[in-house]
Amino acid sequence: MSPSTGFASGSDSGGTPGSGGTTGSGGTTGSGDVATSRRPGPAAPLFASVLGNFALLLVITLGGFAYASVGSSARDQLITEMLISVVLVVGLQVFMGNTGVLSFGHLGFASIGAYTASLLAIPEVRKHVLLPDAPFGIGNIEVPVFSATIIGIAVTFVVALIVGVVVARTNGLAATMITLALLFMVDSVARNWTDLTGGAGNLGSIPRLEGRVWVLVCAAITISIAAAFRFSPIGRMAQASREDDLAARAMGVNSSMVRFVALVLSAGIVGLGGALRSQSLGTIGPSQFSFDFTIIVIAMLVVGGMQTVSGAIVGTAIITFGKEFFRFLGDGPQWLGIDWPQVEGLPDFFLAAVLLAVLLTRPAGLLGAFDAGDLVLRIVRRRRMKSTALLTPSAQPVRAPRAPLGDDSLVAHGLGVTFGGFVAVDAVTITVAPGEIRGLIGPNGAGKTTFVNLVTGLVEPSHGEVRLGERRVGTTPTRVARGGVARTFQNLRVFGGLSVRENIAIAGLVARRHRRHRPAIDADALLAASGLTAFADHPARALDYGNQRRLEIARAAALRPDFLLLDEPTSGMSDTESAAMVSHIRGIAEMVGAGVLVIDHDLGFITTICDHVTVLDQGRILAEGTPAEVKTDPAVVAAYLGSHA
């Protein structure tokens, strides 16, 4: 495994050598950085986002009124339609935007919410005519619209709880395919369970919504929920899993659980959207929640940018008004003094063309990671900045106080794994004492990374176990991380789209729940010690190679671990940088009071940093001892150092 991954990380670094631990030497000037030392309270981004997106919704609604006032009567329904689409799209954003999983199934949830609410609310007299054989005694009850809608949402929740268990276990394409299957199953049932749904045709007599106030209120509630979720711990963990699922799990994030919560929440909102849709139309039918409409809803989200609520709102507006305009144009009107020819399919053409153009040129959507809340925050900050401009931040690395060491040793006992017939790691026993810095060294292919993967639950061991003192460490990456063993990756795995501060904060979230018995670590101090203060608000992927390495170590340290497992922290670095890394790792380890198992193939680096060294070759321990002992061991010299000496 080592040779190819080693190469991969080497090529990752490309022509961007690390900046060697210099603090704030990057091209980040300007007042933005100063503000990081005087940020508003933790709830500020949420309030800003809700405020900003309310404003955005209002502007777009008013714009819609202006547009509708110059058009024909067909435009009257347009604003209601758009607001309902906002509910659906923002609801979808809660799941897709935060988890990064493409879902085709959400209109299935909308359909369930809509049918439940509609079937309950249709007047009893009409039901006897429309659905004479209705099951569950539905034919004899009539529920007020409001209660019916609430029940509709509740039923959607229940279905989502079941579906969520399946979807959340998977990720990526597999999850997408399950959601697609869900859509077709719901559609199939709606079309064929004629006794309950009236079949493929439309079912009328649904009490209609009067006015737009209710829809506007629902849209506002939806926006608030979506914004709240985005800044909630679970929402942020979902975003970490979206950026890099494996790294998120290795930081103690239970990514299945966060996906599950996101799915259920978003399904409930979309269920509400579905109910509103049939209430505004006064009819319900399977064709209202078809695959075609699914594509439209997804297009709305993707065109605007699915990462933020603002993206969802803007995309909804663009597609709604754009489609309406091209429908108008396709009807062959007289407009601007020209007789337009009658063309069918223009709205679809517009939809596909916009979606394709955005995907090919701006895959993150028109707004990308921008949220209206950012604008609000910026305005507020600029105001504050005037009064606090004289405050200078402490840009110098802070010597943080030493944290006390943990009590237990990390013991890998007889740990090994076999791939096919190949013994990658063969019954390795290593003990790392609290606070000890232990080196694990060996030539390429010795099984070093596999060993780390075994300890951290990424690879299931064929035999052996890992303990912290007497406790067995869990067998999944999430449990291992929560248990106190944090790791870094040989091929960098930062949460690229999240800010540097957020990368560390994610680990802090997990630590606050699962590592309470360890002393808290101040994120600002950790940033400062890593020389990352100046980049705190930059997306992690914008960092250079060396800084990304230090960020990964800082992120692992923020977990308040008992042990840090560092997989080739100096891979791809120059000698000077490696030397700087030595003192950096020592400093961080002292700061959190953790023992360290550091893996490398660079003997010079290992001998300067470690108290003890274990030499691994072909999956077995070749030698163990102080750096000096190991260096003179004949077996080591023959197997490993021979080529170097």
Binding site: R169, G172, L182, F184, E344, A352, L359, L360
Partner: protein, 295 residues
């Protein structure tokens, strides 16, 4: 027993066309991790070409090569115009782009031709049948199956015995390593699209001889079936795609046969339920390609 044999015989033709599309989907997934939902639009392209040519009294023996040629060119141009620009993007973007292309294709036919079905004459033999014992065989099913088997034999030969096949298999295994070994990315991806187009063209010709009409959205359904077939067989696995396609075609006939008359519409829903069940049992197993991620 007769009934089982009869269902098998009836499902063979549809299953073969699913398999032909599915192999293309799987092949493209192998080289660029894209589930290409635009692949089915090659059928629509072929259908309108066939309509145009048959209207001008060309025989099917000219139409078939033209349809196949159009599918190859169409597949290659889709890659050249759209997917080449976003190669290496995440599967999410790739998948959605192919969807956008599908919707665009639907719209283009609607805008420039019509949303109404354009009928054309099918060859006479496509609906004729013969009996062995008490089992009726439709000629179309037999021909479709035969052509598919032949196509798969050629595919297997190309992939196993030619430089192009070696390059495709290497790229599917590890694209970066393959490039380091001198495999040209453009050529192998373009070639995979061309080959997938060829198989799609063959499948289209078979479907058109039976369908006898062109509609803007006719490509969506066969493609969905093909994707399901490829997923069942494990994306990236060509024998899996063949097995998945045939299994799906036959299963559909069986389900339709088992369901009472008035629930016939549930066929698709049931098929999807089976697939969802598959994922519940083996969530990772069906997507081996993804779990092979390196750390």
């Amino acid at each position: 027993m007769t009934e089982i044999l009869q269902n098998l015989a009836d499902g063979l033709g549809a299953g073969s066309t699913y398999a032909l599309f599915a192999v293309g989907v799987s092949l493209i997934f192998g080289v660029m991790h894209l589930v290409n939902f635009a692949h089915g639009e090659l059928l629509t392209l072929g259908a309108y070409l066939a309509y145009w040519m048959l209207l001008r009294e060309f025989g099917w023996w000219v139409v078939v090569p033209a349809v196949i040629g159009a599918a190859v060119l169409g597949s290659m141009s889709i890659e050249f115009v759209a997917f080449r620009r976003i190669r290496g993007a995440n599967p999410f973007t790739l998948l959605l782009t192919s969807f956008a292309l599908e919707v665009l294709s639907h719209a283009v036919w609607k805008v420039f031709v019509s949303s109404k079905r354009k009928p054309f004459a099918t060859p006479e033999w496509a609906f004729e049948s013969f009996a062995i014992g008490s089992v009726r065989f439709e000629w179309w099913n037999i021909v479709a199956f035969g052509v598919a088997v032949l196509s798969f034999a050629v595919t297997a030969f190309v992939l196993r015995r030619t430089m192009f096949g070696l390059a495709v298999r290497a790229a599917a295994e590890d694209f970066d390593a393959a490039r380091l070994m001198g495999v040209k990315a453009n050529r192998v991806i373009s070639g995979a699209f061309a080959f997938a187009g060829l198989l799609a063209g063959i499948a289209s010709s078979l479907i058109l001889m039976r369908k006898g009409g062109a509609e803007p959205r006719m490509g969506a359904d066969p493609l969905l079936k093909a994707v399901i077939a490829a997923v069942i067989g494990g994306l990236g696995s060509l024998p899996g795609a063949v097995a998945g396609g045939l299994a799906l075609g036959v299963t559909e006939v069986f389900v339709r046969d088992l369901l009472p008359e008035d629930l016939g519409g549930l066929t698709d829903g049931l098929v999807f339920a089976v697939i969802a069940l598959l994922f519940i049992v083996r969530p990772q197993g069906l997507f081996n390609v993804e779990t092979a991620e390196r750390v």
